[in-house]
Amino acid sequence: MSVISYILAAITVGGGLAAVLLKNMVHCALAVSLAFAGLALLFLDLDAQFAGFVQILVYVGAVAILVVFAILLTRSSETPKDGGVFSPTWLAGLVVAAAVFAVIGWAVLNSVGGLSYETAVPAVTVQQIGQELMGRYVLPLEIVALLLTVATIGAVIVAMHEKEDAK
C-alpha cells in the first residue's frame, strides 16, 4: 500500500472513530460523512471510479443529509439530560467489537498467502458497467428498483403524521 492509501485509510478510520466517540450528534454525523468521503477516495485508489463517485453521490449527498435531518427532527442535537451518551453496558460492546476485529484480522493475516494476484489495473468503462447491468445483472437491477420504490413508500408512510393522533 502506498503512502496515499495509508493517509486515506487514516482519514476514514479517524472519521469513523470520531463518529462513535463524539458527544455532539451533529458532529458525529459530519464525522461519518468524512468517513464516507474517505471511503470514496479509497475506492478511487482501488481503480473503482464508478463505485467511488456513486458512493459520494449516494452517501455524502443523500444518506448524510437524511441522518442530519433525522437528528434535527428528533431534537437529538440538544445536550443529553443525564447519564452521558454511552449506555451502561458499554464495556461489553467494546469487548465484542474488539473480539470481532481480532478474529477477522487473524483470518486475513493467516490466509494472505493464497490471496493476492497482483493483476494489472482493470480498465473498466461505464459502457461495460451499463452492459453488465442490462445483461447479466438485469434481475438484481429490477429487484433493487422494486426495493427502492417500496422503501420510499414505506418511509413516507412510517414517518407521516397520522391524522388520528391530532386529538
Binding site: 462513535v20 482501488l46 452517501y59 441522518v67 428528533t74 467494546l94 497482483e118 473498466v124
Partner: protein, 103 residues
C-alpha cells in the same frame, strides 16, 4: 503484508468501529450510523477483492458494491423514518429508555 491484506484490515477495523458504535451508544440514530459504517466496510472489502482477485474484468465485485450502496440507502431511509416516528410517539430517541413492550 500484501496490499490486499492492508485494505482488508482497514475494512475490518472500520467494521469493528461501526459495531462498537452500534453496541455502545444510547441514541438510536447513532446505532444507524454504526450500521452504515459496517455496510461501508463490507463494500470496501468487496472492492478490494474485486481489484486484487482473479477476474477483475468480470466486474462482479463492483456490481455487488453498487447494489449494496443502493440497498443501504434504502435501509437508511426506512430506519430513520422509524426513528422519527418513534420519537413522535415516545418523545425520546434514547434506546435505554425504550425498555418496555407497552407502547
Amino acid at each position: 503484508m500484501t496490499p490486499l491484506a492492508g485494505y482488508l484490515l482497514v475494512a475490518a477495523l472500520l467494521f469493528s468501529i461501526g459495531l462498537a458504535g452500534a453496541l455502545t451508544r444510547r441514541n438510536a440514530i447513532l446505532v444507524l450510523i454504526g450500521i452504515e459504517l459496517m455496510l461501508n466496510a463490507a463494500n470496501l472489502n468487496l472492492i478490494a477483492f474485486w481489484r486484487y482477485g482473479p477476474h477483475p474484468e468480470a466486474l462482479t465485485g463492483m456490481m455487488f458494491a453498487i447494489f449494496s450502496i443502493a440497498v443501504a440507502a434504502a435501509e437508511a431511509a426506512v430506519g430513520l423514518g422509524l426513528v422519527i416516528s418513534i420519537h413522535r410517539h415516545a418523545q425520546t430517541a434514547d434506546l435505554d429508555e425504550m425498555n418496555r413492550m407497552k407502547g
